[in-house]
Amino acid sequence: MVWLFRFAPYLIFATTVAVTMLTPLVAAPLPFDAVGDLLTVVYLMLLGTFFLALAGLDPGTAFGGMGASREMTVAAIAEPTIALAIFGLAVGAGSTNLGQIVAQTLSHPGAVINPGHLLGFAALFIVTLAETGRLPVDNPATHLELTMIHEAMALEYSGRYLALIEWAAGLKLLVFFSLLANLFLPWGVATTLTPGALAIAVIALIVKLAALGLAVALIETRIAKLRLFRVPELLGVSFVLALLSVTSSFLLR
Amino acid sequence: MIHWELIERMKFLLLLLPSFVSALGAYLVRPYRAMVGWLNALLSLLSLGAALAFASHAAHGGEALVFGPGELLRADSLSALLMVCVAAASTLTLFLSPGVGTETNYMQAQLRRYQLLINLFIFSMLLAVSANSVAIMWVALEATTIFSALLITLTRSKTSVEASWKYILISSVGIALAFAGTVLGYFDFVALTGRAENALNWPVLLQNAPAMHPEVMKLAFVFLLVGYGTKAGIAPMHTWKPDAYGEAPPPLAALMSSSLFAVAIYAILRWKVVADAAIKDHYTDSLLLALGLASLAIAAFSVVLSRNYKRMLAYSSVEHTGLICFGLGLGAAGVFAALLHLVNHTTAKSLMFFLAGDIERKYGSSAIKQAPGLLKAAPWTGGLFAAGLLALAGLPPFGLFISEFALFRAGFAQHHPWLMGAALLLLLVVFVSLITHLNRMLYGDAPAEIAVGETVGWRVAPMLLGLLVLVALGLTLPAPLETLLNQIVRIVSR
């Protein structure tokens, strides 16, 4: 049991919290909008994944290694889709700053229904499922070595460490959902930090998250988990969607 | 005024007589004595001095000097440069000759014949570059063939006889064609102005060239190019080179690959000037470019699989012939680069064949795979050989790199990018295969029976000197040389 194994959960949690601070949950632009943009968000999460995978390798059990290997594979293959989705958003907003993107979409409500936007949303949605360990990529409820990815890495943790890791996972899901919600349909996001606006924003966020959660829940009830080597195909589909969204946003500019 | 005349005369005599006298001495003194060899070597210093005097005279912008009945001899800057090349190479050769200070496996009679013929060879080369009439130039060049052919078979080995026969037949045919070309040039002249005594003197030809018939001149130049090209070893007339260089005694090989080659190029250049004056378009350039590319290609791919380091050197000199042809075909800048390359190549090659000879003497074979572990067996010889080969491969800091660079710049400036690109690719092939062969020779373990240590210690010194010259030419372009080359360019591309 080495220092890295003990240190990893804290770091994972810290990065996720930092990411949460950067994401416009209820208000945009946030005071520290300039500290990190969308790319930073993505790469901070990757940092978390990086350490989680290392922590999975450390116990030296087959489970941990398996989980780490699968997790990194999925994360790596998901990267391009995320990057392209960001590209698509950046093309619209002329910036990768989250505040900027939100503001841009707010100021052009019509942009919400242009094909680039919708395709980008679909792509990022699939990636969300992959990154946050939902079905059909991973099954958070399982402990069967054939199926688990995220759980396999956290298998040797207990107590506060496990708590931090799971909490971080939850936060990650929240972040992805709110990114989906506020970047693509930013209605209700507070642009001024007045109590009224914030209240509306909170309600709007809850509604959107509920909707997304419902969608995910429906999907998880409808479909079974994919074989690991079908996952790249799924992500390939999302990549194509993202590429289409970018190119269309080029051609339609 | 008189004694000025006298001094000029002295210069020509100083240039030509020593080699003649040496030949005479070698003939008269029988059996051979080492003293003769030394004496001839020292005598050759005189002609070197004379050549340098010509060069400095030309470099200081002096008029072309003429001498003899019907202006038999003439020395402008171009001749001066060649004189220096030939004289320097032959001095080096005579000092490094067998039977001069060093023990040798030649017999007395052979040594005598060697001294006689090599001096006659040198004499005819010097005559060729200092002759005023293109016909005399031709006579002298033909003479070089004869003497060198006899020298190649100095040791009556099967291979040497074979090489000599091939050499003399191919180059006699070639040189005969050159004579036909000369006749055609003269024919053009006669058709223009009727017969005249000194009509074959180069300045006279050049003067009348603009009025000559381009069609006839084209034919003449083709004959001349094929003819002298055979002597220079331009592909596809190069086939005698590997045999002759491989079988000739090292000093002769060195002298042939450095000086004789240069003289043949000189002859081509002389005629090119006349032809260009007569033919208005770039006909000669295109011929030179085409043959240059052919030489490069054939040489490059022949080096790849060559198993014998002497023949490898021969092919590399075919390659450099190709490069120089390129240069001559690339206008003023190209000619400058080509002549610089000629000087560098002369310096490098005259070393390489001596080194190759020493290596062969050491290992008793000129096969590449028979001569491993050179650096262990003979560090100095091996090191020098490696340096020389790298220089021939066109690596800095040696002169050939600079001249090749200048050459390619000229090529690009002349808007032949694709031609130059192809040439570069071929050079790459040459480079890689040369380095590969070199590696095979330098490293590994020498066969047990090979005695470690230099063949002859002091021989290293003059070669080191030559190498230093090469490096110096790589680092700077001496002002006199530059002015000389510029004057030549002015003569050539008028």
Binding site: V2, L4, Y10, F13, A18, M21, F32, A34, V35, T40, L44, L47, T49, L57, G60, T61, A62, F63, M66, A68, S69, M72, T73, A76, A83, L84, F87, V91, S95, T96, N97, Q100, L155, R160, F229, L243, T247, S249, L251 | L169, I170, V173, K218, V222, P236, T239, D281, Y283, D285, S286, L287, F301, V304, F412, A413, H415, H416, P417, W418, V429
Partner: protein, 487 residues
Amino acid sequence: MRLNAAALSSGSRNVIFVLALFGFGSKAGIVPLHVWLPMAHPVAPSHVSALMSGVVIKMGIYGLVRVTLDLLGGGPVWWGGVVLGAGALSALLGVLYALMEHDLKRLLAYHSVENIGIILIGIGSGLIFHSYGLTSLAALGFIGGLYHTLNHASFKGLLFLGAGSVLHATHTRNMEEMGGLIKRMPVTALCFLIGAIAISGLPPLNGFVSEWLVFQSLLGGFNIPKPEVAVMMPIAVGMLALTSGLAAACFVKAFGITFLAIPRSREAEQASEAPLSMRVGMAILALACIALGLAPFIVVPALGRVLAGLGGLPDTHPAFTLELSLATPGSASSVSPALLAVGSLITLGLILLALRVLRANRKLRVGDSWGCGRIGQTPRMEYTATSFAEPLRRVFAELYRPTKELTIDFHPGSKYFVQSIEYKSEITPWFEKYVYEPCLWLVRLLAANVRRLQSGSLHLYLVYVAIALVILLLSARWCGSFASRRI
């Protein structure tokens, strides 16, 4: 020389560019001229290979920028396109081959190929923007490329030194025989970890900043008027993103298998920390990685000044503030690794504080790891580097074309007792097989045929002379000259 270059025709400029790309590219080790790199770097002593990949291959980058941007002053769009394509290809293939390597130093060498690719992506996009006159975006691309050059020098040097001290401790380069070294050599492990994070392009270290800059320059791609050109940019973005993701995976493998878990060999068990000199060297480079990561607001303007004036680039560089923000047409984004790091550290502190305040149970119970009820754990049960890379090997099987051979020999008595299982799998070296061998084959073929010319028959030689004579005579009569025709 610049003046000469200005006078050149487009044809010769193109040739010069292509030749320069080949020459400097082979020095820098871009695909497909990279094959020498993973052979040369590992065999050198580690500090030398650190120097090689840190400095030597950068000469290629230097030369490329010097020639294309400075001497030739930029060129047509396809120059940038070629550089960008070569870069993207090198990046992706470099990391993909690195994933399959279990020789620590070969792995690092392949990562040099990858990073050179990233650098070239930056430079290529810069060239493209430059040819469209979008100078500030061009500057961004070049700055990204050069910044990554600096970074690669620091973290690759660090990683090679780390590999060196591991080598020194375990006397093997094979990762499968390492493991658990983090206990034996903590300093090396920490430094290697920092290097790994940096090279994976994760915040807040230097790799992240330069890759971020490259990303930003690519994101500016929609300013390119021609859609067919502009579409290259998102594709490059995708490849770059995939590259960085795979790099992260690869370094999880490299660090995890080498330093974590249980030692897989006796050497690894008895490994000892590297000597002080090496530790100091690594520490310095690690600090460099951190500094270059946290202080881009110092480095970037410096690079901007370096580039100013080359190929008519103005002295445009992102604003000089604590956060590195960009005010370029199309992309006005900002990031501040420093604040980011500070923020994360503060949150980390807060968490610990919270745990302290809440009097969380600080008793730590260390149990045996779970292995489906097996008795004891041995190294043989660990995940190996091969198995770690297996999923990706399958995903990219098209590229690797892995060869498998499985030999099982049974107990002579009964075939139900397996005596030994031998599994061998290799990936096909694609470029050696499909690019270089054909070239060599061609040269050999030509050589063999040219060789035949020198057949030894005098008559044949004379035939050559005669043929040359006749052909030239005919040309003299009936052909014009091609030298007068200019290409």
